[in-house]
Symmetry: C2
Subunit: 241 residues, 2 copies
């Protein structure tokens, strides 16, 4: 890309894109200092205010970083936490061997819900409703994601009590062999966070999040768990094999 | 959420969030009309300019839509194109049975490249370089994604010529049994588009895209293909089993 002095795009905006391009192409590398304002002025025959405006914009975008007394640096992207072997069962509650390591929020019993009834394929009659389990995906005291799992109270009538009395997972699962997830079908997409999700993830409202949602199936072929997970895409990546 | 008249957050900004919340909770549904300015003024005891400002903001965010003479509607999210059974091999070139259905860009020969050499685990000596193949993921004349595949020219020395002469895939693959992908390891993340990617996807610069990248392995265990795919997250979702 070259600066075009006859363009209707102001020079500072062109310079901004030029710097972004140089970062993307590795001319300016992450964590390294970019040339000084003066050097950029001379190289590109630009005025000081033009260069200053472009740099100020990129600093406010988080692309550049000013280190006082040292110069302007290409911001280092936060290292992403990798979730290995990601698949439909990765965020399953029923697939856990223990819930000691997750910071489970109080389990709530919910009344029948049309959306969940449809997902679980439960006919439109009175039934036992659902347990809702929620827990954050944490790493070094930072929230990376937020999991919500719904489990039918018909199949697991005492789940809430069992969890609050600290029953071990192996006991909760005993005799439920046919209702434990062995496969699933989840959709993964990126979309703006809903207000509640943004609050749970501690991010600004409507930030783009990765959303994973869908159903897990037990050995008997019926839906045993419904998942709704939101993840911070700036901190996480999923490894798919 | 309730409006707080003593808050330092201006009322129009609070109302904006209240409307977003009502949409997210299904009080106002996609494609349906929201109450008129006048009705909102009365319900919430707000002035007309406050309501107008909140609505104008949400229209410019694409959350609401004004239909002339009919009222203000909750914008309908574009339906997403679903990629079923997504896995590491989904965007592989060598895994295709034919390249008739993809709009393959001119295949380029590239010199050895340190990043690719590391991925392919090719020692730092003279070697044949790579073929770079690029194609869009299209659906009804719209670009949903952009695939870049690198394949070693040592293993497929005549790939470029074979493709430009229209050789069939079955011929290209013959005798290459050990070098065809059977598994892979890709990372999926969301990040701002690079300028070139934004251009290929026809989206504004630095829009968030889904990026899938990694290596595919042949039967002999060595890397046979390197993938770099960017997808439009507003149009696509991946189904993971």
């Amino acid at each position: 890309m070259k600066l075009d002095r006859h363009s209707s795009v102001p020079l500072y905006a062109q310079l901004r894109e030029l710097i972004v391009e140089r970062i993307q192409e590795g001319v300016y590398r992450q964590g390294e200092r970019i040339p000084s304002e003066m050097t950029l002025c001379e190289e590109l025959d630009l005025s000081r205010p033009t260069v200053r405006q472009a740099i100020a914009d990129l600093v406010s975008d988080g692309i550049l970083e000013i280190q006082k007394g040292r110069g302007t640096f290409v911001a280092v992207e936060p290292e992403r936490f990798s979730i290995p072997h990601f698949n439909a069962l990765t965020f399953s509650f029923l697939n856990l061997s223990s819930y000691d390591d997750i910071n489970l929020q109080p389990v709530q019993h919910m009344d029948p819900d049309p959306e969940l009834d449809a997902a679980f394929n439960i006919p439109d009659v009175k039934h036992a409703g659902y347990w809702m389990l929620q827990w954050p995906i944490m790493f070094e005291e930072r929230v990376y994601g937020w999991c919500t799992s719904h489990i039918s109270a018909q199949v697991f009538p005492n789940l809430g009590q069992s969890i609050s009395s600290g029953k071990r997972m192996i006991e909760i699962k005993s005799n439920k062999y046919a209702f434990l997830p062995i496969k699933g079908n989840v959709a993964l997409l990126a979309r703006p966070a809903k207000n509640r999700e943004a609050m749970a993830l501690e991010i600004p409202r409507r930030t783009i999040v990765l959303a994973v949602s869908g159903q897990l199936y037990g050995r008997n072929g019926s839906v045993c768990e419904h998942l709704r997970v939101v993840l911070r895409p700036d901190l996480l990546q999923l490894e798919i094999n």
